[in-house]
């Protein structure tokens, strides 16, 4: 009798398991991912999930059986037992053993996740409100990665693209098969760099550095986003990783290095107003706009207005200082290391001559470079 009942439960459990696992495979579940560790994590996740399912079937089975069988409307008479030491000891010990069983592989996986040694390369990932900066350490290559989804799509004008909110202007390019040590930090608040398919989520703490690592097994584009509330545009801070074959990666890196060297040129020459304004508008549109708004009116009191900001327009030195070094104790970051002198000069020029600000000032890249060198 009792055995037959158990068989019924097992069978119905199995019958349930088939459709459930089908559903879990198709975008309703944690992705298996493309690294050894993400597979391990997924394995742990499924193991503990099925353990919960089995316990759930037993407990809820007993629960609903009791509800059905011992209804008063069915004439059930209450018994009066209050305790049963053996049973109570068993259901304390058995869960404990199950926990030990799952803790062992979990410990091994965790240790592997923490082993950042013997990496082939290092990338420093810096979170900023609201973009990521990637620096290939020792390679002279660094760039910002901004949300590429047009604002119109967000506002509901125009059809949303396939990768809505999960597309960037410049993805992080990584080689397949190499161990990449990730160093994470932040320039302002806490962010969290997360790509589910890489099995990596790591907070970027201002003033501290966290480590993680990744070795991607398959080429492809992997998408994630910031996972720690970081202010207004927290939801608009995607992470896109492009994994490519090692040879392609080396080529790409060399190209980027050359491009960076080129960008550093032109520091010495005199830039015309038009050039500066054009470049400045571009920089403003990707960097400054999220706080200071497209019309330069900001979002006071945290994000001050630039349009019609008389204090700033009257004090050019302070304007330059603010952009280069930020304002301590406020939301304004230092852009000294984020933007190159050309970009800084251009954006300051733009801010001083847009939205009705009519100073007519031109700020030259050479002046900025000098100021930074001090």
């Amino acid at each position: 009798m009792r055995i037959r009942k158990r068989l019924v439960w097992t069978a119905s459990g199995a019958a349930l398991a088939v459709p459930v696992s089908g559903a879990l495979a198709s975008g309703w579940n944690m992705p298996v991912g493309v690294t050894d560790l993400s597979r391990d994590i997924h394995g742990l996740h499924m193991a503990i999930f099925w353990i919960c399912v089995v316990i759930g079937i037993v407990v809820f089975g007993a629960f609903f059986y009791s509800l059905f069988r011992y209804r008063r409307s069915r004439g059930a008479r209450p018994s009066h037992f209050r305790e049963h030491t053996t049973v109570e000891v068993i259901w304390t010990i058995v869960p404990l053993l199950i926990l030990v069983a799952i803790a062992i592989p979990a410990t091994a996986t965790l240790k592997a996740m923490y082993d950042t040694s013997e990496a082939d390369m290092e990338v420093l990932i810096t979170g900023q409100q609201w973009r990521w900066r990637y620096e290939y350490r020792g390679e002279d290559v660094a760039f910002l990665s901004n949300l590429a989804t047009p604002r119109e799509q967000i506002a509901g004008q125009g059809k949303k693209g396939e990768h809505y909110l999960r597309e960037v202007d410049e993805p992080l390019v990584l080689p397949v098969g190499r161990k990449v040590r990730l160093l994470l930090t932040s320039d302002d608040v806490i962010h969290s760099w997360w790509v589910p398919e890489l099995g990596v989520k790591q907070d970027a703490m201002p003033g501290f550095v966290n480590e993680n690592w990744v070795r991607i097994n398959e080429p492809g584009t992997y998408r994630g986003q910031c996972a720690e509330l970081c202010g207004r545009d927290h939801g608009f801070m995607p992470v896109v990783v492009e994994a490519v074959a090692p040879e392609r990666f080396d080529g790409w890196l060399a190209e980027r290095r050359a491009a960076a060297a080129e960008a550093a040129m032109g520091l010495d020459r005199d830039w015309a107003m038009d050039e500066l304004m054009e470049r400045g508008e571009q920089v403003y549109g990707t960097i400054c706009v999220s706080c200071h708004q497209p019309d330069g009116r900001g979002n006071p009191p945290v994000f001050p207005a630039l349009a019609g900001n008389q204090t700033l327009m009257d004090d050019r030195a302070r304007h330059i200082e603010t952009v280069i070094n930020g304002v301590a104790g406020s939301a304004m970051p230092a852009f000294r290391n984020t933007l190159n002198p050309v970009e800084i000069a251009a954006v300051i020029t733009y801010e001083r001559n847009a939205w009705g600000n009519e100073t007519g000032d031109r700020v030259q890249p050479s002046a900025i470079a000098e100021r930074i060198a001090e």
Binding site: R72, R82, E83, A106, T109, R166, M205, P206, P300, V302
Partner: protein
């Protein structure tokens, strides 16, 4: 007032009226003043419950705004800035304004009645604890009207988003939280003193109903951790207004320090919101199974173990902040351990049902739903404890699903179970059965529609606290939003049931539920203003 003093003492204590003792029952203030000046545990309990219900709807309104914005991808109704204010205030109001005061209200009403005490140990202090809350929440809600708006950094207030980058209103948020904290500490002191000192002669600790036991342990947790919250938000206040560097590396501090202190408070806080729920359910299930609670002693020990463990698990909220490996392992193991006493509780409830004689009155329906749905929240909690997997779960909707399962069909359902259970004692009437059943079934459906899809959204990669999301999450969010609207609307039924019950309905006898064995069922329904003026006789049941 003399009415509640035994004849012997009232003559002995004959006082001028100004001393506030002698026969002035007829002078007791009326109307609004009665509620403002009361020292009666039942009236104060009612005040807490009314405040809690009000805040439940305020916090619920914020939730509706969140769900409306998330109904489909894109920004439709609110700005991201305001969305963040909504998530922050929803959390704060629901935790500090709805769930905690509801449990304190139930404790005020029921602890003295269940232990045969004439009132709370320190009745004036009790009223102070309550009246701090309306002032605190007025202050908190007023931040919406300040420049820069209300706090927008999540209820967890992680520095430096909550310090250097926060709106000016943050200072007011901190001060209001201080007031709510003082209220909680004083309330908890009062409850502990009542339980330890005012039990009727013959009632030993191990004779107390489990609701009293769980509250005793909860009160201890409150006194231990609310001061830590006060400490950490004071440090926030200093970082914001006085230029200190507690949470800034430039001055030698650490943002993670904030999280350690916050979660040292925050994790016990989670149990503060669930232990009294365990107590309520442990009282209701035996009543309607007509069978003693299985494993009374192990229930008490399990509750105590959970409380002790709650001081040792806080960093499991911080698995991705970059803890050293040793810490990561320690907190994973300690967190997994919590499953053991929690499991014991669930097994005991199920075994209490086994071979009982079960009926399904509204309080029982909510208690049974609690057992199942809380356990689902417990399962996801166990999954979250596995640190490597938590790197994927952390800060996603999987976590949102988890804690809403333990807080809504967990804590909130237990509160509703308690309200349905004790309404006859409070009002003298049974709640309308048909409406109560509608309320229950709509709530159960709504709650699962809301929170179950969140598991999938989270696993598929949707972070929490975002106002807009990638297209693959659209279906989950639409279902969730519809469920939330259904759940929100069904709670209007709850108000209707309560109001109708206060105004009339089927008369309830002293022992409103035939299986009710505790002392509250020995006093008339509705319970008179003063009960147990002389300590009742108590025959310990064999546990």
């Amino acid at each position: 007032m003399a009415s509640h003093l035994p004849p012997k003492s009232s003559t002995q204590h004959s006082q001028p009226a100004s001393a506030g003792v002698a026969s002035q029952a007829h002078e007791a203030p009326k109307g609004l003043k009665r509620w403002l000046l009361t020292t009666n545990h039942k009236e104060i309990g009612t005040l807490y419950l009314v405040l809690s219900l009000t805040m439940f709807f305020v916090g619920g309104l914020f939730a509706m705004v969140i769900r409306a914005e998330l109904f489909q991808p894109g920004l439709q109704l609110v700005e991201p800035e305001f969305f963040n204010q909504m998530t922050t205030m929803h959390g704060l109001i629901m935790i500090f304004g709805a769930v905690m005061p509801a449990f304190v209200g139930l404790a005020n009403w029921m602890v003295p009645l269940q232990i045969g005490a004439p009132d709370m140990a320190l009745p004036r202090l009790n009223n102070f604890s309550f009246w701090l809350l309306p002032v605190a929440f007025t202050l908190l809600l007023s931040t919406f009207f300040m420049p820069g708006g209300a706090p927008n950094f999540g209820w967890t207030s992680y520095a430096p988003l909550s310090t250097t980058y926060s709106p000016p209103s943050t200072t007011f948020f901190i001060l209001s939280l201080h007031m709510a904290g003082i209220s909680s500490i004083l309330g908890a002191i009062n409850i502990i003193a009542t339980i330890l000192n005012l039990r009727t002669p013959g009632m030993r600790l191990m004779d107390m109903p489990l609701f009293v036991w769980t509250w005793l342990i909860t009160a201890f947790l409150l006194i231990a951790v609310m001061p830590v919250l006060a400490g950490v938000i004071t440090m926030m206040l200093l970082d914001i207004n006085f230029g200190t560097s507690f949470f800034s590396a430039a001055g030698g501090g650490d943002p993670v320090l904030f999280q350690h202190l916050f979660w040292f408070f925050g994790h016990p806080e989670v149990y503060i919101m669930i232990l009294p729920a365990f107590g309520i359910v442990s009282v209701i299930i035996p009543t309607f199974a007509r069978k003693p609670l299985f494993g009374y002693a192990s229930m008490v020990y399990a509750t105590a173990s959970i409380a002790i463990l709650s001081f040792l698990v806080w960093s499991h909220h911080m698995f991705t902040v970059g803890l050293p490996l040793v810490a990561e392992l320690f907190f994973m193991y300690s967190t997994m351990l919590i499953a053991v006493p929690t499991g014991v509780k669930v097994f005991n409830w199920v075994t209490t049902l086994f071979r009982g004689s079960i009926t399904f009155e509204p309080p029982m329906l909510f208690a049974l739903a609690f057992v199942v749905l809380f356990t689902i929240g417990g399962f996801s909690g166990l999954m979250l404890a596995i640190s490597p997997a938590d790197f994927q779960y952390h800060d996603t909707y999987f976590v949102v699903a988890h804690f809403h399962y333990v807080l809504v069909p967990g804590a909130v359902f237990a509160i509703m179970a308690g309200v349905y259970y004790w309404l006859p004692k409070w009002t003298g009437h049974y709640p309308n059965l048909r409406l109560s059943q509608w309320h229950f079934w709509l709530s159960v459906i709504g709650v699962n529609l809301t929170f179950f899809p969140m598991h999938f959204a989270g696993l598929a990669g949707m972070p929490r606290r975002i106002p807009d999301y990638a297209l693959q999450f659209a279906d989950f969010n639409m279902v969730t939003s519809l469920g939330a609207f259904l759940f929100g609307l069904s709670q209007l039924l709850f108000v209707l049931v309560v109001v109708l019950c206060v105004r009339g309905g089927e008369k309830a006898p002293a022992k409103a539920w035939e299986g009710g064995e505790d002392l509250e069922w020995t006093v008339p329904s509705p319970a008179p203003l003063h009960t147990f003026e002389t300590p009742p006789d108590f025959q310990p049941r064999r546990h």
